[in-house]
Amino acid sequence: MTEPSIAVLLALVGLPFLGAALVPAVYRVLGERTAYFAASVAAICLALVASLHGTHGTAGVEWVPSLGVALRFHVDGLSLLIGYLATGIGVLILTYSGGYMHGEPSQPKYYAALLAFLGSMLGVAFVADLIALFVFWELTSVSSFVLIGHYRDDPASQYAARKAMLITVAGGLFMLVGFVLLVAVSGDVGPATFALFTADGTGMLQNAAAMRDALSGAGLLVPVLLLLGLGAATKSAQVPFHVWLPNAMEAPTPVSAFLHSATMVKAGVYLVGRFRPLFVPKGAVDLGAGPWSELFVALGLATMTIMAILAVAASDIKELLAYSTASHLGLIVAGFGFAGKLGAETGAFHIFNHAAFKAALFLVAGIVAHEAGTRRIDELGGLAEDLPVTAAVAVVASLGMAGVPPMNGFFSKELLFDAAYHAAEHEGGVTWLLPAVAVFGSVFTFLYSIRFLMLFFGDKPDTLGEVHRPPLAMVAPPVLLGAIVVVVGLVPNLAIDAIVGDAYAASGGKASFSLGYPTSLKPPVLMSIATIALGVVAYQFYGPIRDGIRRLLAVDPLSANTYYDGGVEGLTALGRRTVPVVQSGLVRTYAAWVVGAFAALTLAAYAAAGVSLPGVETVAYDLGVATVSGPTLGSVTPAVAVILALACVAVVAVSRAPSHIAGVLALSIVGFVVAIFYILGSAPDLALTQLVVETLLLLVFLLVLDKLPEFYGGDDRGVIARDAVLSGVVGVTVFLSVVLATAADPPKIAAYFTQEATTVDEAGGHNIVNVVLVDYRALDTLGEISVVAMAAISVVTLIAMRQRGESS
C-alpha cells in the first residue's frame, strides 16, 4: 500500500469549490451547457479518486503546529467508496441535469451549489480531523438547503428547505458536542487531539481500544454514542428524524437523486461506519458491542420497517422513493450495528448497492415526471409503451431494491438476514424478533418496489396525456446505473474486489470477503424466499393495505410531522412574544437587557467558578487604603480622598439633575474626576485618554441634547424600583470584578514590561502603554480599530436605512 499524495487530496477537495466559484462566469459564456462544464469538473474529481485507489494512509498540511491544528486527510476503503459514489454519480447527475434543467430558473446557482456540495461531500469522506469533518458536514447541509429551496417562489419548497436545514444542522451540533467530548477523552490516552488518524499513529481511531477504555472509564461511552448517533440519525433520516426527507423532494429531481439518495444522506451512515471500529471491540460478534449494537440495530431495523410501511402509503413517486431511501439507510445502519464481520459486510455492501439502484430509480422518476407531466402514482401506468428503455432500467433497479435475485440488492439483504439470524441464534430470547422484523420490513420493501415497477405496465390511464421521449443526456445515466445493478447482481465479487471489500475492512472488518449464490437452503435463503412469497401474496391486497396505513397516519399523534410543526410553531410564537419585551424600540429597554444580561452572566460565571472574595486587607491594599507588605501602589493621600468625595457628590448630582444639561455636566464632572484620580495614581496615559474622551463625549451630548426625549422614566414607582435594582446589581458586578481582578496580583505582569530590556531595548519605546498597544499587543489593537471602523460603517448604514424608510 502506498501513501496518498497530499497534492492530489487537496486538489480533489478544492477543485469542486473552485469550479463552483467559476460557474457564474462560465454560465455567461456557455449558457445551459454549463452542465457539461460541471460534469467535467466531477469527472476530473472521479479521475483523482481513481488515482488514489490502492493508496492507504494519512497525509496532511500543518496549519498551527503549536496547537496541533492541521488539515489532515485519510484514505481507506470507506472514504474511497464514498468518494467514488460522490464523484461517479456526480458525473451522471450533472450530465442528466443538462437535459432536465432545460429552461429552469437560476441555473448558475443550481450548478454552483451542486459543485460546492460535491466538494463538501468529498471533504466529509476524506478528512481525518474532527473539526474539518464537522465543517464539511455542515457545508453539505447548507448546500442541500440551497438546492431544496431552488424554487424560491414556492412556499412548499421554502418550508422543505428550512425543515431539512433545521433538523440536519441541529443534529450536526449535537455531533459537535460528541466530538468535543471525544477530544477531551483523547487527552487521557495521549496528548489531546482532534485527529482521527495521524501519520505517526496517534489518532483516536488508531488507538481505538485505549479510547474505548478511556470513554468507559470517564462514563462517557453512552453519551458520546448517543450524540454521534443523533448526528448520524438526523443526516441519514432515521426514525423519528426522517420527516425532512420526503419534503426535500421539492428539490429538482437530479438533486433528490444525488443528495437525498446517493450521497448526502450517506454521510450519516458513513459516520456510523467510520466510528464503528472505535465502539465495536475486535472479536465481538452479533450484539457483542453493547450499547453500540443495541442503539444502531434497534434504530436501523425500526427505520427500515416503518419507512417501508410509509413508502407503501405514498401517493407520489418521489415520495415513495424518499421513504424507501430512509428505509434502506436504516438497513445499512442496522448492518453496521451488528458486531462481527456480517454486520460490516452488510453496511459496506449496501452503501454501494443502494446508491446504484436508488440513483437509477430517481433518474427514472425524473424522466417520468418530465415526460409524462405528473408524479402521482394513481395517474401513471403503462409507461413501458412510450418509454421502453426507461422501463427496462426501472425493472432492473426495482427488483434490486426489492432484493430479488439476480440483482445486487439481493446480496446485501441476504447479509442482513444472515446477521440478524446469527444474532438471534446466539443471544436467543427476545432477539428472535430481529430476523422477524427484518423479514416483515422487507415484505413492505418488496411491495412498494413492485408498485413502482407496475407504473410501467398495465393499462394507460385516460388522463395521462402524450408521453415524450427523453433526450439522450437523460437516458444514458440511468442505463449505466442499471447495468451496474445487473452486473453486480450476477458477479458480486466484482464490486467487492474493486472497492467494497476495502470499505468493509475500514469499517471494522478484516481484509476482504467474497460472496456467491447460495447453494443450500440456509436460514437466510429461507427468509428471502419467505419475503418474496409473502410479498407476492400481499401485493394482491395492495389497495386495502395502503388505505389502512393512510387511515393510521391521519391520526395526528402517530405522525412525527405533528411534533416538528408543533415545535417550530411554539418556538416561533415564543420568539414573537419575546421580541417586543426585549427590543421595544426604546434605547433604555435595550440598555436594561444588555447590562442586565452582562451582570447576570458575570455573576453566574463567578458562582460557577466558585471564586472566593479576597480578604478585606487585600482589597484595602489594592485600593491603596492600607499597606500589608511590600511596595504599595500608593496610599490614600488627602488629595485622593478629596477627589473620591467629589466623585460621589457628582454621582448623586447626576441622579437628581433637574434637566438634561445639568445631568450631562454632572456626569462629565465624574469623568474628569476619574481622570484626576488616574493622574494621582501615576497613569498619565490613562488620564490623558480619559480627558479627551470625556471632552468628546460632552461635545456629542451637546450635539444631540435637544433630540432627547423630555422625560426619561416618569413617576411610575415600579419602573423606578426596577431601574434602581438593575443599577445596584450592575454596580455590585463591576465592584466584584474589580476586586477579583486586582486580587490576581497584576504587578507580576507589569513587572515584565517595566524591565528596561523589554520596552526600551526590545521595542525601542519608553512608554509602556504605547509599547504594549503597538508592539506586544498590536494584533489586539488591530482588532480594536477594525471594530471602531465597523461601528462607523454601522452608524452610516443605520442612518441611510432610516432615510430610505426601511425602519419599521
Partner: protein
Amino acid sequence: MNDDTTVIARTVTRIVVPIILVTAIALLLRGHNLPGGGFIAGVLTTTAVGLMYVIFGLDYLEEEILHRRPTVDDIRPPIAADYRAMYALGLTTALVSGLVAVAVGAQFLDQGFIYVKSLPGSKAPLPLYDKIEVASALAFDVGVYFVVVGALLTILGVVGAE
C-alpha cells in the same frame, strides 16, 4: 446653530482649534516614548473638529475651509466620504505595516526601530535632536490615528446632520 453662538465662543474656537490640532500631532509623534499615542491623538483631533461643528455649524468646514459647494440633493454631508476614506486609509496603513514585517521575514505585526544619528553623508550628529528614533510602530500608530479620526468624525458628522 451659527446664530446661537457668541462672538467670544467663535473667537476662542478660532484660536484654540489650531492649538489642539498641533497638540494632537505632537501627542501622536511622541507617543512611543512619552504619554500620548495614536488613539489619544485621534480623539483629540476629533474634539477639535467637533468643536468647530458645535460653534460654526456643520457646513462651515465644508464651505469656508475646503471651499466646496454642498449639493442640494445630498442628504449626508459630502465630507462623510472623506472621513470614510480616512478610516479605510488608516486600516490599510495598520495592516500594511504588519505585512511589511512579514515581507522582511518577521512575524505579522512585529515592530522594529533604528536610531538615525546623522544625516546621510555626514558624521556630525543631527542638529537640535542629536538623534531621532525611527520606529516602525509609528506607522501602525498613524494607522490607529486615522481610523479613530475617520470613524469618530463619520459618526459625529452623520449623527450631527440628522
